[in-house]
């Protein structure tokens, strides 16, 4: 039994600091991009996320990547 695992989609998420809550803890807002090529490298995504973040008002807290894989029994 051979199990294959194929990357089928990638999502880029930019997490922004979006003010503070009532107790002074930072709050965050996530902006997701779904139409990201699965073959994208971390360097490419980092470049895109940091350049995009310079166009808006909030501090970019983290850049995240979500990859989805389909696992199948061949």
């Amino acid at each position: 039994m051979a199990i294959s695992s194929e990357k089928v989609s990638t999502q880029l998420q930019m997490v922004f600091e979006n003010g503070v809550d009532g107790e002074g803890n930072p709050t965050f807002r996530t902006k997701s991009f779904n139409n990201v090529k699965p073959a994208s490298t971390p360097e490419q995504l980092h470049t895109v996320a940091t350049t995009l973040s310079q166009l808006q008002q909030h501090i970019l807290y983290t850049v995240e990547r979500n990859d989805s894989f389909v696992i199948a029994d061949l």
Partner: protein, 70 residues
């Protein structure tokens, strides 16, 4: 709430929009151009009509909501 919309053309000549909330104002054409160039250079987005190949336009859009008394 305002949005910055970056519009590109894909290989089929159709428009693909990448939008960001709460843009810096006034818009800086140099920075926006540079960001759009970087997106094209990195080429890590796709669309149903192929890769993004060209910058089309950029604009800031504001949505106003007024409740109507019923």
């Amino acid at each position: 709430m305002k949005k910055l919309e970056l519009k590109f053309l894909n290989e089929e000549g159709r428009t693909v929009t990448i939008s960001l909330d709460e843009p810096i104002e006034p818009a800086d054409p140099v920075a926006i151009n540079a960001a759009m160039d970087a997106i094209l250079a990195e080429n890590c987005f796709y669309s149903s009509g192929g890769d993004l190949v060209e910058k089309k336009e950029a604009r800031i859009v504001e949505r106003n909501v007024f409740d109507v008394e019923l």
